[in-house]
Assembly symmetry: C2
Homo-oligomer: 488 residues x 2
């Protein structure tokens, strides 16, 4: 592995040097160069099929396929992305973001963790797999889809999936764009939340009116909007939009048990990642990890109305608006949540006020894996062997296209990632911890070996894991329930 | 009166030509010129004492005094202002704002109504008074204080009053900066609301946090602020700040009776002055006129938090702020209301959130006249005679320095105005209706004649008015109560 690792670091540095900022049109040529870089690297590694999909409307994506020798072997599609976040504020970087440097165990640079590092991990993982097995082809048929628009919300992923559906056909998707829980606690991510954002605008008249002459006798759009926002949550922090929780699938007892066993230091989390928040708050009856992982939210991301410049304007404002972002969990449906929000706003629009609700796109659906699925357990076992310790289940509260991959390809999606939550992705001084990433590659090398057997004997596994973790069989979710869940 | 009127119109046009926009430092020299213009006009009229107070920090104010022949005659101080509002948007004016033109009964120009027209009305009124009585001095000792900062909120009026308290000493203040209710319904204004504005800022952390990673587990400053705002009113539109109504003096039954008799067309008011508001709303149990005249309010004049630019930012915002403007009525006290607001905000600040309350200045106190005071009744009778019709009581919902004049000089203040609510003051195409203003001057000519008698026999009047209006004596507020009220 060590010779492989040296090349790997040099390669990753070279790839990071291409500033593939997809959100910035000035860098779209770099996104194309980044795709070409990856295609060249894959060809060098011997992947028989390598394609750069650059016919638009999506920014260039890379597709590759390396068939197993056994035509009956499972087909696995790996998802990742090669576009990166912008680098502002660039002055906060200790090294130039596109001149990667290694300092001890860390490699610094934009994309080092999210997601070039993890995609490179897959290249290394396959090399290690081939070296360890002595095979000339992987134990599973491997396909790779590395898109160039993830940081822009994957606006064309559905187009790509529709256009190349046959080519992308697989028995399993391995989704690689999430972190482990902690260096000390490697985990299998079991789900991401979805999200949907509505801009709600309330209007009470055609002009701002004088607060002396009219105040008290006419509706105030800003007050009407604030009353709507205040009605979104009840006193227990639960979302009071009628029907909002109807389709919410609660996490299994096993998952909650795992979450509770994770080394989560709330005070350190508040002071560190949360940058000085003084109290963890939220929905009563759930822990902070649960609130941010498996519970839906309704956040006001922005609000504006009336005069907000220097000094005071004594007006009754005619208009106010707010952006409401809901994070969603399985099995909440985007269209149903839209409908519930529309109805809620209509019911909370007072006389003399009109309300408009505009959704930003159709949103991103939530996704959760079947924790009893043999592929999930294979990921867990591969990580456990590579990290040489017990591997628990975790989740992430953010969102990604896992549900779309599932919906379009109609196969299970599992998460496999080996980065860390404190990698400062999307922020200055992004880094990746190399020994962790290398263990991830090691786990992948094992995973491809495990999968052919595991995917042949799905029934044998569930009892195994619950017994191994010392949990009662009753904690296991009913298979029927989970089956349904994957269709969220 | 007609010869006088011609000169009057020419003079007013000349004065309007001086763009005395006090809020604009580029026009401060014009404010000084405007003061000089008025001083010159007063001297030409024969006022024995005319002074321009231009030693700062206030913009130049004009003081004048014309003693009555009878040293025992009442001393009346007239208050007005000669600064004017800015003229933006200037392209909406049909004539240049500082080139006054007469079209039929209307004189157009910035300040035609507010307040140069009304101050000029006083000059004309005194000329008419002297002409009608054949006297060489008014029947009361007249003093005039015309300030240059009213449109900027009279920031130095207390300084002027403190500095010149002895000189300004009077038995009565006539406050001239309010309109009649309507051309068809001349009224005596009986009060103005005060106001106080607090900027309330809520902070939940040092950084905006990602709504995926942190959402649901940390406080959201915008939601906390919206919940505070929503708590300000109850379902009946009453202000739910504990203690807020403790000192609110309800209008007398007589005043409510008068308000109800005024020709107020709510639908026309909504469509016209309120520019298309579709429903009059507010505190349950009160009419629109009452809600805007004699009831206190709590309006959100501006609110801002999080990201409000184009598109969406999926953040949990760290901070949000709002400006809360309360219109106040007698006998609410500025400092007590400040304290109540501070306490309310503290009680509605959730865990993990800090709140800061900053007041913009100390606010403007409310004021209401004693409707039984002989001077109030003299104003009513003078207007009734000039307009040849019954004159009812009205109020205005806006604010002015009447309470300060009362507090510093320790004498009653009565309102005398002869402009109209639809004069478009503070807006393009400000105008004054000349026949109405001339009747106002006529009423003033009478008022100065009435006052020496009326102020000598205060006890005789109250029974008179209530009887005349056909109202039961019980509707009269207790004198003790009213006495106290004037100290609000
Ligand atoms: Zn990513
Ligand atoms: Zn004015």
């Amino acid at each position: 592995m060590h010779g492989l690792a040296d090349d790997f670091v040099a390669e990753l540095c070279e790839w990071i040097a291409i500033p593939s900022i997809g959100a910035d049109p000035a860098h779209h040529a770099d996104v194309a160069r980044s795709a070409e870089w990856l295609a060249t690297a894959l060809r060098r590694d011997g992947w028989p099929t390598v394609e750069v999909w650059d016919t638009g409307p999506a920014l260039p994506a890379v597709y590759a396929c390396w068939p197993a020798e056994d035509p009956a072997a499972p087909v696995v599609l790996v998802y990742g992305h090669h576009d990166v976040q912008p680098v502002d504020p660039v002055e906060h970087w200790q090294h130039p973001p596109f001149e990667a440097v290694v300092r001890g165990e860390e490699l610094f640079g934009r994309g080092a963790s999210d997601d070039k590092g993890q995609v490179a991990m897959h290249l290394l993982g396959l090399r290690a797999h081939l070296a360890a097995t002595g095979q000339t082809a992987p134990s599973v048929t491997l396909k790779l889809l590395v898109e160039g628009e993830e940081e822009s919300g994957s606006p064309h992923i559905a187009t790509l999936l529709a256009e190349h559906r046959t080519k992308l056909g697989a028995d399993l998707v391995v989704f690689t764009d999430t972190p482990l829980f902690d260096r000390s606690a490697p985990t299998v991510c079991t789900g991401q939340r979805g999200h949907i954002t509505a801009t709600i605008t309330m209007t009470s008249g055609n002009s701002d009116l004088h607060s002396g002459r009219f105040g008290g006798g006419v509706p105030n759009a800003a007050i009407a909007l604030a009353r709507l926002v205040a009605a979104v949550h009840d006193e227990q922090g639960r979302i009071a939009i009628p029907g909002f929780y109807d389709d919410v699938r609660e996490p299994s007892a096993l998952e909650r048990e795992h979450f509770a066993r994770l080394p989560f230091d709330e005070a350190a989390w508040l002071a560190g990642p949360a940058d000085g928040v003084t109290a963890a708050t939220g929905e009563a009856g759930w822990t902070t990890l649960e609130r941010t992982w498996v519970r839906p939210t309704a956040e006001i991301t922005g609000i504006h109305g009336g005069y907000t410049g220097p000094g005071v304007k004594t007006i009754v404002p005619r208009q106010a608006s707010t952006a409401l972002t809901c994070r969603l969990v399985p099995d909440q449906q985007l269209d149903r949540v839209q409908e519930l929000i529309r109805r809620f706003v209509a019911e909370h629009t007072p006389p003399g006020v009109t309300a408009e609700v505009v959704f930003h796109g159709s949103g991103v659906p939530p996704y959760a894996v079947d924790i009893d699925h043999p592929a999930t357990l294979a990921v867990r076992d591969a990580l456990a062997a590579a990290f040489d310790q017990e591997v628990l289940f975790s989740r992430t509260g953010g969102s990604g296209p896992a549900a779309l991959l599932h919906a379009w390809l109609d196969v299970p999606v599992v998460y496999f990632g080996a980065t860390l939550p404190d990698d400062r992705i999307h922020a200055p001084n992004e880094r990746v911890v190399l020994p962790v990433l290398l263990r991830g590659a090691e786990a992948l090398a094992r995973l491809w070996r495990l999968l052919p057997d595991r995917l042949r004997t799905p029934a044998a596994e569930p009892a195994g894991i619950t017994a191994e973790l010392g949990l009662a069989g009753s904690a296991r979710p009913e298979p029927g329930r989970e089956q349904e869940a994957n269709r969220a």
